[in-house]
């Protein structure tokens, strides 16, 4: 597919927060072009009046009482790589 080139790949990898080695880029570019050209067959199908199916099978509204259910927060906090009291500690967001 012509519109999927190395620049697109690099841009998408940046969005996905993934650094790619040159060898990975070559392989991925080839694989993804092949996969995307397989998708072209969908273009042959007329879907003008078809509603998109966005979820699983049955979609209905679920209502529940607005109550606090106490979870086991301490276990989640324990698994933080770095913390101060009950807060997750991370490097600065703004550079």
């Amino acid at each position: 597919m012509s519109d999927f080139d190395k620049k697109t790949l690099e841009y998408l990898a940046e969005l996905g927060r993934i650094k790619l080695a040159e060898s990975e880029k070559t392989k991925l570019l080839k694989d993804l072009q092949e996969i995307l050209s397989h998708f072209k067959e969908l273009g042959k199908l007329n879907t003008d009046d078809v509603e998109p199916m966005s979820g699983g099978t049955f979609q209905e509204n679920i209502f529940k009482k607005d109550e606090v259910i106490k979870g086991k927060n301490e276990k989640f906090i324990e698994s933080f790589p770095d913390k101060e009291n009950d807060f997750l500690k991370i490097p600065p967001v703004f550079e």
Partner: protein, 483 residues
């Protein structure tokens, strides 16, 4: 006591009759796993202490003459993308190598309250992305029928563990065939329940509109027992549904029961031996009086493209949470900036297939391509579901192959992602439509009757109407018993 041929049913009967104790059987399993799993590599981690203490609890309940449930003491395996509190849950990914689950998945809670014994966590393709279990960051699992071949995937560890007698039954997850295809490759039974029948709370999400947890077992009867234990509505999964109200008893009567054969599933590319095996099943069922009807599911050929747009789109979104901060961190990757943490952790932590799907998913969702890929695929998904809706007005159950070929060789498809994706063409439409389906070993090809190395297990697939697990399980049990 030969623990190797135990089913859930026969284990339960033996336990009640005091032919053995649960602890004794659990010990035997661990001894056997210690030897056998060196060549199969089905397990990523074992939990011997917890397993034995659970087994002993069941034994003392029995000594105290208390009634025990059907799953009490039964040694099970669990796919390593399902959380068990305080146990490592890696999803076979480097990025979660050090992650300890903070809570039990709902299915685990249910198994624990049924007093089942959990032997260990089984191998999978990283984050359940794959069809061969070769994408595991911790090494491939091997097919117990032929060590040169893959066990299928992504629940390859669970299927191989059951097939190699290293567990009585197991849990897997199925997004596009990940329970049924490995069950077929390994010669065991695998059930993918209706979307919503089983809670996914505590299952690591891959593609949320497709994922379901289901059982892998030696018999259809066992698969049904496990399914009954894990199904039902859960306040922690808003897509779960009260199946009890929908899942009526099976009304299978061979004289007025009609089985559909979709022409799009019996194609040229179908392996000869697989075609022969499926013909045999059809003949068996016909001899017993079942009616067959040729049907058409005309949009089948678009299912693969549709799936490989929707699944990566959802997966790329779901996997955004693995940022190297919230769940676990790879060691020795100290950085100054937050953005660098993300880049370093994700680049080192994810394997090639996961990266491929994140990038593909990001692409089909990106501005300018959303309509022509993602929205288009969602519309095609509607057409695929409607094909099934129409077909089920004429037939009760649909019978198809599970995969175009039996288990392939390790390394055969790993370099060719599209080729690998094609091994799921008969299982994918079922997930897109949210239907229940089961893979059952064709008798002549079952593990026990395989004479030559080159005769591999082959499964057939029964697809049922929404929430009609009873139909496919009922028909499967009839076939299993010899009609």
């Amino acid at each position: 006591m030969d623990f190797k041929n135990l089913t859930i049913k026969s284990f339960h009967e033996g336990l009640i009759k005091k032919e053995f104790s649960a602890a004794e059987i659990t010990e035997s399993f661990f001894d056997f796993i210690g030897k056998k799993d060196k060549e199969i590599r089905a397990y990523l981690s074992l939990g011997k202490d917890e397993a034995l203490s659970q087994a002993k609890k069941v034994d003392s309940a029995l000594t105290g003459k208390k009634d025990i449930g059907i799953l009490a003491g039964v040694p099970l395996a669990v796919k390593d993308n399902i959380l068990i509190e305080n146990r490592v849950c890696s999803a076979a990914s480097k990025i979660l190598e050090n992650y300890q689950a903070a809570y039990d998945a709902t299915v685990i809670k249910k198994l624990k309250s049924a007093e089942a014994v959990i032997l260990g966590k089984t191998n999978l393709d990283e984050f359940a992305m794959g069809s061969s279990t070769e994408n595991s960051a911790f090494g491939a699992t091997r097919n117990p029928n032929d060590l040169e071949r893959v066990p299928g995937g992504s629940s390859g560890g669970s299927a191989a563990a059951v097939a190699a007698d290293m567990a009585v039954a197991a849990l897997g997850s199925d997004t596009g065939g990940s329970i049924r295809q490995p069950a077929s490759f390994c010669g065991v039974v695998g059930l993918k329940p209706t979307y919503g029948a089983v809670s996914r709370y505590g299952l690591m999400a891959m593609a949320s509109s497709l994922d379901q947890i289901g059982p892998i077992a030696k018999t259809v009867e066992d698969a049904e027992i496990l399914f009954d234990a894990i199904k039902g509505k859960d306040p922690f999964d808003s897509t779960s549904i009260d199946v009890e109200s929908k899942n009526q008893k099976s009304k299978i009567k061979n004289q007025n029961y009609c089985i559909g054969l979709p022409e799009e599933y019996f194609i040229k590319g179908l392996d000869k031996e697989t075609a022969k095996a499926i013909d045999g099943v059809i003949k068996n069922l016909r001899d017993f009086g079942f009616k067959f009807k040729k049907i058409s599911l005309p949009h089948t050929k678009y299912a693969l493209s549709c799936y490989y747009i929707i699944m990566p789109a959802e997966a790329s979104t779901n996997l955004a949470r693995y940022d190297g901060i919230r769940y676990a961190q790879l060691k020795n990757l100290k950085t100054e900036k937050l953005k660098d943490v993300y880049f370093n952790q994700r680049s080192m932590g994810f394997g090639p297939e996961v990266k491929r799907r994140i990038i593909l998913g990001t692409f089909v969702l990106s501005s300018g391509y959303y309509d022509s890929y993602y929205l288009k695929a969602q519309k095609v998904r509607t057409l695929i579901k409607e094909d099934f809706d129409k077909a089920f007005k004429e037939v009760d159950v649909i019978l198809t192959p599970v995969s175009p070929t039996p288990a392939f060789k390790i390394g055969e498809k790993i370099e060719n992602p599209l080729g690998m994706y094609l091994s799921d063409i008969f299982t994918i439409p079922v997930n897109l439509a949210g239907l229940p389906a089961i893979s059952i070993p064709v008798k002549k090809y079952q593990v026990s009757s395989i004479k030559h190395q080159n005769e591999l297990p082959i499964g057939f697939q029964l697809i049922g109407k929404h929430f009609r697990e009873a139909d496919i399980l009922g028909l499967g049990k009839l076939y299993e018993k010899g009609l």
